[in-house]
Symmetry: C2
Amino acid sequence: MAKIVFLGTSGSTPTKSRNLPSVALEYEGSIYLFDCGEGTQRQIFKYSLNISKVEAIFISHIHGDHIIGIAGLVRTLALNRRQQPLYIFVPKGYESAASQLLSFDKAIIGFEIHIKPISSGTIYKNEDFEVRALRLVHSVPAFGFVFKEKDRVRFIKEKAAAAGLKGSMYSELLKNGHITVNGKKVALKDVTYVEPGLKVAYITDTRPVQSIAIAARGADLLIHEATFAASEAGLAKERKHSTSEEAALIAKKAKVKKLVLMHISARYRSTAKILKEAKAIFDNTYIAKDGMAITLERGS
Amino acid sequence: MAKIVFLGTSGSTPTKSRNLPSVALEYEGSIYLFDCGEGTQRQIFKYSLNISKVEAIFISHIHGDHIIGIAGLVRTLALNRRQQPLYIFVPKGYESAASQLLSFDKAIIGFEIHIKPISSGTIYKNEDFEVRALRLVHSVPAFGFVFKEKDRVRFIKEKAAAAGLKGSMYSELLKNGHITVNGKKVALKDVTYVEPGLKVAYITDTRPVQSIAIAARGADLLIHEATFAASEAGLAKERKHSTSEEAALIAKKAKVKKLVLMHISARYRSTAKILKEAKAIFDNTYIAKDGMAITLERGS
């Protein structure tokens, strides 16, 4: 199970109702942050997440609105006497920029902060899931992130019973891929199916390039920026952002289950138009709000 | 007239209801910020102040919770195409720390930022008021600030008429200090009184030293930190902060008109005890809340 909490859903500048970008993904008791705009630590408190559970932070790009929040967050963790290390991922080449932001006042931080470079491919992995980075198209090097839980092999009870499987035969079959039961060969694929792991894609800031649709293919949830309404497609192109319609087209091509739009420009007081434009292309679209939470379960 | 808006009233870490420290003083259409904790720009929007009117920022000390907000604030001003310079005052010797915080990502800021060193004495002055800095006692170099509007010489109408003053005599008397009317010498002090300018003191983070009472003497408003309740006087001493009672004693000694306590530790869910303790010593005490506004007028 993964719980996604939208901590900040604005773009560039905060508004009365939207803080700067950050999305928390809670998984097995740990929290992973995608971007960390100014004020993220307060949003964590506001939406009752446990700040000490933040394990890693993935920064899409080095623009201030996506990263300034790490400075205050690490100081609060230090005040809370955190011991375990914190991992902060930033686009390769910007490690010293992140380090400069963290260390401007030479504050004493009593735990290790590992600033890790992001290149395309798998950047974080544990026994349950991995996070892959994909290069986006923005005014500075930017990356999208795909959280992918491991697929699991599940036995089809009826077929396994019919094949005569019992006891340690299950683990042997899993290990070797085949087994002989009562003189009859049973292949793993005959009695199992693959239950795909959860997949969540976080995509901001970028032009709507095709590689996003490929990376997000079949995702349970695609979080995509929609800085502009369709009527400002020229501005979106110029400033290397996406419109409502462009984000929805990516969702449609990627055949994702659900699309949530965020990083909405502060210029829009109402998001009704942006939602309508996107829904016309991809119906299962929502506009993120600060504090919105989505719980995803395998196979649901 | 000066309007004070409490933008953030917490200490060290934000809470659900309190942002990190910042107090806005609006005077003659311009805004002066005292401290600028993370999230200050959003508080400015939230409480409907005009961010483009921020003229100068006075940072009490370089601890992250008091300064991190400048990084996002200047970026938003840049997005808004600000032209006029911004003045940021930081304790002398910490100019490069502030500069490092502002420039970590080499963002293009299209207006001048003047980072000015703070030493004791007058650090900012225009035709209407001055801001004086006084050295506080904290774990790092810290300064309190006193906003002092110019005193004005006002004519006592009845006395001026009785002395036979008219026309250009008023300006001549103001210029020379005395004038002869119908053969009789009139001194300025005979027909005028001094209307004192508004005085507001902003004092955080510090032990309650006597120089504060001297600097804040007779202030219309003393904003003083009260990180701890009286029962944690030992902790206040150790961490170089003040308690409710210590802040109230300063207000009493300084004979200020009103005391507002802020920088309350996040450990206190209720501030009732802190208020009660302070009021027992200095009755006209209030606890600051985010968004609280106080309007001060000369002679009121």
